[in-house]
Symmetry: C2
Subunit: 353 residues, 2 copies
Amino acid sequence: MNSSKTVGLADVAREAGVSLATASRALNSAYGVAATTRERVAEVARRLEYVASPEASRLATGATRSVALVVPHLDRWYFGEMVGGLEEVLREAGHDVLLYHVGDPEGRHAFFEHLPARRKVDAVVVVAVPVTDHERRRLELMGVTIVAAGGQDATYPYVSIDDAAAVRQATEHLLRLGHRRIAMITAVDPDRTDQPVHRGRTRGFYEAMVRADVPVDEELVVATTWGGVQAAEAMENLLSIRELPTAVLAHSDEMALGAMRTIRRAGLRVPEDISVIGIDDHPLAELVDLTTVRQPVRDQGLQAAHLLLALLRGQKPNLAQKLPTRVVVRSTTTTAREKQPSPAHPAPDTTSH
Amino acid sequence: MNSSKTVGLADVAREAGVSLATASRALNSAYGVAATTRERVAEVARRLEYVASPEASRLATGATRSVALVVPHLDRWYFGEMVGGLEEVLREAGHDVLLYHVGDPEGRHAFFEHLPARRKVDAVVVVAVPVTDHERRRLELMGVTIVAAGGQDATYPYVSIDDAAAVRQATEHLLRLGHRRIAMITAVDPDRTDQPVHRGRTRGFYEAMVRADVPVDEELVVATTWGGVQAAEAMENLLSIRELPTAVLAHSDEMALGAMRTIRRAGLRVPEDISVIGIDDHPLAELVDLTTVRQPVRDQGLQAAHLLLALLRGQKPNLAQKLPTRVVVRSTTTTAREKQPSPAHPAPDTTSH
DNA sequence: CCCCTTTTCGGAAGCGCTTCCGAATATGAT
DNA sequence: ATCATATTCGGAAGCGCTTCCGAAAAGGGG
């Protein structure tokens, strides 16, 4: 199966009539080798299709030239997009990208206790995963550079969006349309019991409301985990309130879609009866005409990777980068209706219990 | 930054009072070391938090214990899900997972010409990427085990779904609802000009139609690249046909959503005027109540990984596995209408030019 | 109690590359 | 032409681990 013997540096050196040392220097275009020699060696290497053994050079140099990506989910658009961005610049910079999925609590625990990436990477980027103090300490045991991509984590050099600003933009969009009874479905990370809701995003909402001098009805802000069906359920609660909201702001597009499903099933119309706005600008948001605030996910990945590379090079980059967001108006938001709508069908039974 | 010196095998050996050779054997639980010795070494290793240098052991053994994942997109649900499945079992089996994104033609070319994974992995899994003959030849240069996950490729041991069957199921669902004028929006891979449309899926449609003895109107099958907005445009063409279809079958859920947007913008209703069915059961499909045929994506990843591991172990697993699909009925399909609907607004101008 | 087999372990030779150091040769100034 | 300096290159010592091979120790049978 395996064609012939793999060619090693020794073969190249012999063929080019130089020593191993010179061959190595020539190929790494290091200083101290005559231009003509370098060219000759390079030529031979090309002809022989020589590929350096990464193991050997890593052993010799100590640098692994690879970085670990620690990701909590792979199956959500946000993470795929982020990883895509990271991978692109990392790969172009000649680094290998190792993927570590730390989904559920057990997987998470396993990762931080065993540190499978130990001794294998020069750096790790945690994407949108809030690390506990203990986990941080474990990570540091690896003794490598760490950066955060996305999420709300200031423990490491990071690039993300300004979550508060994003929600503020969404809220202001609704306020501008005349909405006053604005509901918010906040997201909480299921793995992190110590931090009940998404702090930044929630804060942005309150900021915009007080700034506009509109009182917020606490009944209208509900929390749930990320995910459409969870948000759909949360929306049921919202619909069981006496005085319905005229608009709802969800912490993600998936959640917004879930809310819309509940609204429609209750016989209400979007946006005539209730406006809906999400966050992300998920690719499908365009297809369902969802108004949302767009965040540049892929860019966050790209920037985070650049940040990491700069750090690795010993430069002093900007350690805290926030990328801008902006609202994309589509057709799920409109001006606030005047009076309470009467549902065609009553809302699902979610009265009290 | 780096805490103390990393402990090496030599430290463990010294501390345990044995030779390097014995320490190595003890830790790899190889044959030929007394149980008590083994235990003592293990204990010391644990206490010192010893972690073997993967570089060194790889260099010495020749096995890399890592596998490359070659993925054409990272930002689409299907691929994230697939990668998630692969990563899970591969990681549990102690392998590292290297990610290689081969998106556009240049990236693709770069990958197959430079073979960046060369000498770095024991195996590669190509996920849903059809490889050309030339690419196949390049890949083989790596001299490693190869499997395919998803997609329509029989060049390597694979696990995927039966594409023809999936579309047949979708078509039969529509036929059962009384539809006769069924349109299909087929997907074509933009990187593969030599293979115009998705063969399997397209075939399944024709099979179901002839089996039901319903003639297919060639005007009703249109091709486009994967993606919602592309499908939306394709749908515009479909709506400019004199006698409208009563149902449309899209090759993916994203495409189905695109089609729905066009239909609704044309003032027609889904499903009353036109039924829509997709393929995949994208997580958002549930939220928008899209009827679709579900394919087990994550399972394909899991199975593919197991297949790979078996191959690596020298076993003889089933080299061609097809996982079942089934239609999930939601609310975008209903019985065929009797008469031509009259659009509230005329369809967008797509008449001839 | 001796000799032969089995078990346990240490020495040492790599794995394929990088890099320090010094030798050899070339370059330039005087 | 001469000497100091700069350039180019080869020898050799690792990087941290695995594993072959043989020596030493332990076990067993007569």
